[in-house]
Amino acid sequence: MKTGDLIELLANDAAATPPGVAWRRLGNALAAGGALTLLLVILWLRCQPLLMVAVQPWFWMKAAYTGLLTVSGVILVRRLATPGAPVRALPMWAAMIFLAMVVLGAGQLLAATPGERLGLWLGQTWRVCSPLILLLSVPIYVGLIVAVRSLAPIHPIRTGAAVGFAAGALAATLYGLHCPEQGAAFVVTWYSLGIAAATTAGGLAGRRLLRW
């Protein structure tokens, strides 16, 4: 086929592509994957009625941390799915959010009596927290990967890791509805570990899933 003929074919396939279409695909993926994960939290893990959760300040402490990580992760995914777009600043944002939480957690530990500290850090659920976040991130990861495959990620491993990070952070936010823990040190350790696991798994899978 001549290149001119190919261009003619492509010109006949030039459907309008509105400006927000990439964001819409990512948004739909987050909504669909997030809804499935939310159902798992409510029906499988169980949580208190949402209104009761919503009056607990520690829920919002957790949600602020993982919510901000989700936002930086999703913006990073969008950038990585756009060839040539700048991405440097976003991992820095995530690192700063993490550091802020480390400071808060360390402050809480220092303010507690030595006898309370281990309990504050391990809580009642440290064994299950990270694995559950990793598990809950799967529906969101799958949804986002489908959306990102329709875009143009030129670094499959990095992009897969960013998708895993965003999925892990959103899964952690929803897991916060179920999780009874109240300490920042707990959250910055075990939540972050779950998100880190999702990031690693996401990068490994992205290598295969994101070629085009």
């Binding site: 190919l6 074919l9 006949n12 396939d13 309008a16 990439a22 777009a85 143009a152 070629r211």
Partner: protein, 187 residues
């Protein structure tokens, strides 16, 4: 074949203008954009592969197909040339990877893409042509009519007695399939 050095801004403005019109559904702008890009892509790939590379034109076509199919990833608030350059470099790296050659492709300033315009179409191996022949008959006929006989999709659809919408979908799916098939080929 040369002479665009120092005119980065002008070329960028022109390409980006076409891209935005094309995203708004302007087929004419899309044709102009891809036409101009094919010259620049050829110029860039000649630098990296050499003038006589057998797969030069195939790579140009593959990249045009990718640029077309991945249009939704372009962010209109960003410059166009870095986007197109990154796609071209990705396709070049992928090309070396698939042909199992270890070649380092330097990450250059995006302006390198529009540094040399080479509109002379090279000889094509038969990659796309052969893959086209593997398509189901209805899709192949549609493509032949648009490509060779110069019908618009609407006209071709009318002739075949299908709606324009389903002909459009069929064309788009065929192009997606082609792009995938080129990639999956072991060469």
């Amino acid at each position: 074949m040369r002479g665009q050095y120092g005119q980065f801004d002008q070329v960028e403005t022109e390409l980006r203008g076409w891209m935005i019109c094309s995203l708004d559904g302007d087929a004419g702008a899309h044709r102009q954009l891809l036409g101009a890009l094919s010259g620049y892509l050829r110029g860039y790939f000649v630098r990296r592969l050499g003038r006589d590379a057998a797969d030069l034109e195939d790579l140009v076509q593959e990249t045009l197909l990718a640029i077309h199919l991945k249009r939704a990833s372009y962010d209109r608030t960003l410059p166009f040339t870095p986007w197109a350059y990154a796609v071209a470099r990705y396709k070049l790296v992928d090309h070396f990877r698939r042909s199992r050659r270890r070649v380092h492709v330097p990450l250059e300033d995006a302006g390198i893409l529009i540094g040399v315009d080479n509109p002379e179409e090279g000889a094509v191996r038969t990659d796309l042509e052969r893959l086209l022949s593997q398509l189901p008959e209805r899709q192949r006929t549609l493509i032949e009519e648009v490509k060779i006989k110069g019908f618009s999709v609407e006209e071709a659809a009318q002739k075949r007695g299908v709606t324009a919408v389903s002909a459009r979908v069929m064309l788009h799916r065929s192009l997606q399939w082609l792009s995938q098939a080129v990639r999956d080929e072991d060469r």
